[in-house]
Amino acid sequence: MADEEDHQETELSDNQKIDIAKWFLLNSPPGEIQYVAKDLRSVLRDDNAYQMAASEAFPFYNKTHIISLQFPDRSGDVLVSSFSEISEDEYLDPRTAQVGKIDHVKQICTDIRPAKDEELPTPYIEEYRCALDAEVCKYVAEAYPKGVCSVYCISGKDVEEPGSDFELVVLITATRLSPQNFCNGSWRSIWNIEFMDELQTVEVRGKMQVGAHYFEEGNVQLEAQHECKDSTMFQSPDDSSFSLANIIRHHETEYMSSLETSYSNLPDSTFKDLRRKLPVTRTLFPWHNTMQFSLTRDITKELGIEK
């Protein structure tokens, strides 16, 4: 009887299992959720709990990691994000004015349909969106060997003419998965761009996130992020787009050089606060002559000058 009670105590409820499963899925490093899912299934040994967890965790993971999926007819890519979300499994690609239907757990785009008029911005907004998309594409092609980008209107898409505020979002992502080399990484940046009609200014807020995982005989992960702000003048679509793309280029390039600095500070300053390369004496530890330490300790104790 007592045994049975013990057993019940250790047995997890379905909800606890689902919560644990979701936690593992959501903590997957970039591009590794499928591997985590595979291992998790065999650890969980409960397919119902797994399915429940997967149906909640995958959409969230896909949107926060802004995964890029190819259309089934290879006519383009759709970025899965909260900015492009039309419904839980439908995401807009404004460049081709198409909506992709997504299978979140398989991480594929299963179907496309043309976007409806009400899902797209007005011609006035579209002029700005399209011009910015063209400039950002140019920049991404130069700066990222395998970058994907998209521009969305997230507020004021029904504005017909000058006189009202509206907001665009630029998403840039790049992912490189090379599991055979035990290395995966991702870059994503989100640029919120608010066109303020009354002030005739454009406010820019950027958030860049990078992650990398190296796991050959170990597990080492980098996570870094940075946020910044800038602004420019409200001009014609082409002029605004040109200066906005320059702002993005400038901040992203600057961030790369700050990452470079962080890395180059590692060996001699940052890492040194954890463990030095050499002892403070700058010579290897005198293991063959350790009697001296006990002696000096005794003396400091006697003199009462011990720390």
């Binding site: 998790l40 990222y144 597990n219 080492v220 980098l222 320059n246 600095t261 954890l274 293991w287």
Partner: protein
């Protein structure tokens, strides 16, 4: 079990503890295997008698109490707890003293503990050398670069019986580290990781000197490979995603 270890290889090292306790609750029958194969961040307790901190691990634990290497007492007190033989205890006292000096010279702070115990199966003994350092600017980070920084090292040494003045040493070392810097102009930068390596040696001479040299050597190697190989690989990855370019010298608009 293999799947569980697969998961541990992918979950961010800073979440090791949470991941491990989740796995133990999912796989209670594998709990002892999991706990012995996955190292987790070290905990410390204060020895009331000597007013010094000591590190907790499986090797100084008996029931729910932990033996301090300083006073040789269990915390909380335990009746009939296990103790090393008087000869081993003498070596343990010396090892703790010397290893504290070693730790001070390399780590400029932190806590260390050494535990020795008899090997029931073979005639030798086992030794566990532990170091825990909080290198953040709020703790023992003397240079103040780190907003968060931890280094936990576990060195487990199996010492074989002495045969004709020679003994075999088999060392398994794990280092777990995490560090985060946060600057206004570069944001947060955080690296965390865990690696484990083994080394073997067969030599004459005193046990403490041999074990000490082995540990010093492997710690140096582990630090080097984390720094040069592991961190380097993450940097290489970011650089392939977005190769660095020269910052354009002119900006068109403010």
């Amino acid at each position: 079990m293999e799947a569980a270890l697969g998961l541990m290889r992918r979950i961010p090292p800073k979440h090791t503890e949470a991941a491990l306790s989740a796995l133990v609750s999912l796989l209670p029958s594998y709990s002892s295997d999991l706990l012995s194969q996955v190292d987790q961040p070290l905990q410390v307790l204060c020895d009331v008698d000597s007013a010094k901190e000591f590190i907790l691990c499986d090797y100084n634990r008996d029931a729910d109490s932990y033996r301090s290497p300083w006073s040789n007492k269990y915390h909380p007190p335990l009746e009939g707890g296990l103790y090393p033989s008087p000869e081993l205890r003498t070596l343990e006292i010396e090892a703790n003293e010397v290893f504290s000096v070693y730790r001070d010279q390399y780590y400029e702070g932190g806590t260390s503990s050494v535990y020795l115990w008899e090997d029931d199966e073979k005639e030798g003994f086992l030794a566990c050398f532990l170091i825990k350092k909080d290198g953040s600017k709020y703790a023992h980070g003397v240079r103040g670069y780190l907003n968060e920084g931890g280094w936990d090292a576990i060195h487990l040494i199996e010492v074989g019986p002495e045969v004709e003045g020679m003994a075999d040493y088999c060392l398994t070392s794990t280092v777990m580290l995490s560090m985060t810097t946060d600057h206004e102009n570069s944001g947060t930068f955080s690296l965390s990781g865990s690696i484990r390596r083994q080394a073997e040696l067969s030599v004459a001479d005193g046990h403490l000197a041999n074990m000490g040299k082995l540990i010093e050597e492997i710690e140096g190697k582990l630090r080097y490979s984390l720094d040069q190989v592991y961190f380097g690989k993450t940097k290489e990855m970011i650089w392939t995603l977005r190769p660095p370019t020269e910052l354009p010298s002119t900006r068109l608009l403010p």
